[in-house]
Amino acid sequence: MSADDPHDAQLVPRGKNGRAPDVFRPAAWIPMREYPQDEAVDFAIVGTGAGGGTLACRLAEKGFKVVAFDAGAWWRPLEEFASDETHQGKLFWTDERICDGENPLHLGNNNSGKAVGGSTVHFAMVSLRFRPEWFRSRSLLGYGADWPLDWREMWRYYGEVEEALKIAGPVNYPWGPKRPRYPYRAHELNASALVLARGCEALGIDWSPTPLATVSAPRGDAHPCVYRGFCVSGCATNAKQSALLTWIPRAVRAGAEVRDLAMVGRIAMGHDGRASGVEYMREGRWQFQRARNVVVAGYAIETPRLLLMSATERFPDGLANSSGLVGKNLMVQLNQAVWGTMDEEIRWYKGPPSLSLTEHWNYEDKGKDFFGGYCYMSQGPLPVAWVSTQNGRGLWGQRLQDEMRKYNHQAGLKIVGEAMPQERNRVTLADEKDRYGLPVARVTYSLCDNDKRLVRHSLDFMSLALEAAGARDVWRETDDTCHLNGTARMGDDPATSVVNADCRSWDIDNLWICDGSVFPTVGGVNPSLTIQAIAMRTADRIETLAARGDL
């Protein structure tokens, strides 16, 4: 049995027979309640990441009967996460997707996880709050669309998520309204992070240690971070507070069932025009789970794909699509960077990749020729990721290898930049079929002028900053994106949105969408904290609606 062959975890479902893996103890299990397929559960949730995992936990804790499905495996990080980037490709969505448009996207290990815990298993743990004004981007800042959510309400939910994940953050955070102190202290900055700090101080702007979802002190059964640097290849230390370590075990203990290796291929609709359950492939055969409510939380490609694939005679354009917006307004975040060589040894492979950041250009509106904002962070790519960046420059041969020899002397600054919502950026169904027999997703993406102006501004600024910190041979990485959002946006008007503020679809009152797809705008910060906050709010709203019989 080869190590690169699919592991047991990828072949044989672990969430069955009344038990689930205990991710904190090697080879151990925790009891898990199971629900019969032919009895309708309260909620069938598709996807167990930042949206689905959080929602499954909170709904189960509120007493609802929940079954959550994930196409991915239920990993045991302590024993199964190797210190090897290539092998850890097993964490990513490696089924085919087709990318086109003027700026075809890089998916896979860039932004698409496939595991119980979703992309939070491989993410870089950056946990940032939206700037309050972004919830009113159109009214207050003149671009994009307004969210149907109030920032003060979100501020409270952000605090709850930060407490639930014991976010390790600085004692004082330089930007935005006051927030409660982060539950754990920030991590020690590595040399790469200090380069960002020096650059910011030289240019006279604030910087900060990055609030991260990985613990800096023991927490329950989780170990504190050992700064091994393989974060985006999966944390084998169990310091990373992914959904796999936090929301999912809580969900199971509260009575939820999680079915791994279960690819949902269709949401079934009843004659009454309401969802009746989900069809899913598990253990080689298609099965059906009845449900009173269906929540789609597959992230911004799989969510619209499932809604489109579930089209019926009554809903020929896919479910919840009377607005025509399912799959449209796909937004990535701009991820351009500047890189340079330092005289001192940096050895950026030590520690989480983005230990320091500045949000200066998220909060400063003057001196910009573009709408929106960006933050930028220090970097620490491992060898395979780094050579891919060098390939992006077109380097090969001896020149490439010479550049790679400078590995321990590199530093970089990379943005998370706000891309504008554009309807032409979209997820549609291709004719090709995947190994489940389902149509493959086609992802079409093109940058607009505002995006390009933001990129230019950021590259100019970061070049200055990196040089001010003492870097030589500074060069610009002009083509990279991260994250995925927007393909089922929320709003207060059914004509221009797919779901309402409660993540409930306008068209089908028992069909919900609870993941990054619901973002009307994407902001200049990583989306995970906002997705989890929305999920917590949605759970509270569902509880309220259920109590007054509106479910």
Partner: protein, 215 residues
């Protein structure tokens, strides 16, 4: 930093039995090191072209232990372990490689009457540069743009497998596997005793001694 950094005597696999490596990592790396050197996916003709191509993309001198890049690329294609997406302009990974290697040989024959593996290094470089710049577009490409094949498959797959090999990690002074033991000293110019020591000019011996002690 004058000249390129060197780490004489450093070998990440020396830490195999230390707290820096765990069982699953040992299994994975052992397997990578045991990749058979004969092709399982490509036929003989394609294999020749691939080997010559790898020698251009990641040239290896005789000084350092050899990384069997072509074998690793072949193994990946045999297992069909994809990236989870592809550029719409490219066919699926396996088809792209077969088409690309044969097209490369065809271009080589049309210029030099010899397959790619038989022409001189300069000629190979010239061909590859043309491919990178989009100058190769004969019918053998079957509509696949050479420049996109070069960027997304040739560079991505070959370089990705080279720098997935422990020899390459040792070459660049990467700390390598790190579980359960990570790192203690985080600031600049500090190394933990289990990290690579960079040779200071004129003091290569000292670095060599430190690197042999790495564990």
């Amino acid at each position: 930093m004058t000249g390129l950094p060197r780490y004489p005597g450093y070998d990440v696999t020396a830490k195999r039995d230390t707290p820096s490596w765990d069982d699953v990592t040992r299994t994975v790396i052992d397997e990578r090191l045991a990749t058979p050197h004969e092709p399982h996916f490509f036929d003989v003709v394609e294999w020749q072209a691939l080997c010559a191509l790898c020698a251009c993309i990641v040239p290896q001198d005789r000084e350092r232990p050899v990384v069997p890049v072509a074998a690793l690329v072949d193994a990946r294609l045999a297992n069909n372990l994809g990236d989870g997406y592809r550029d719409a302009r490219l066919p699926p990974m396996r088809d792209a490689w077969r088409i690309g290697l044969r097209a490369l040989d065809a271009e080589s024959r049309s210029r030099h009457e010899l397959p790619f593996s038989s022409i001189a290094e300069e000629a190979r470089h010239a061909l590859l540069t043309d491919m990178q710049e989009g100058g190769l577009d004969g019918p053998e490409w079957r509509g696949m743009p050479g420049a996109v094949f070069f960027a997304k498959r040739v560079l991505h797959d070959i370089c990705g497998m080279y720098y997935a090999h422990p020899h390459a990690w040792s070459e660049i002074g990467f700390g390598g596997p790190a579980n359960p033991r990570g790192y203690v000293r985080m600031v600049a110019n500090r190394r933990d005793p289990w990290e690579a020591a960079e040779a200071r000019p004129g003091r290569e011996d000292q670095a060599y001694k430190e690197n042999r002690r790495v564990r």
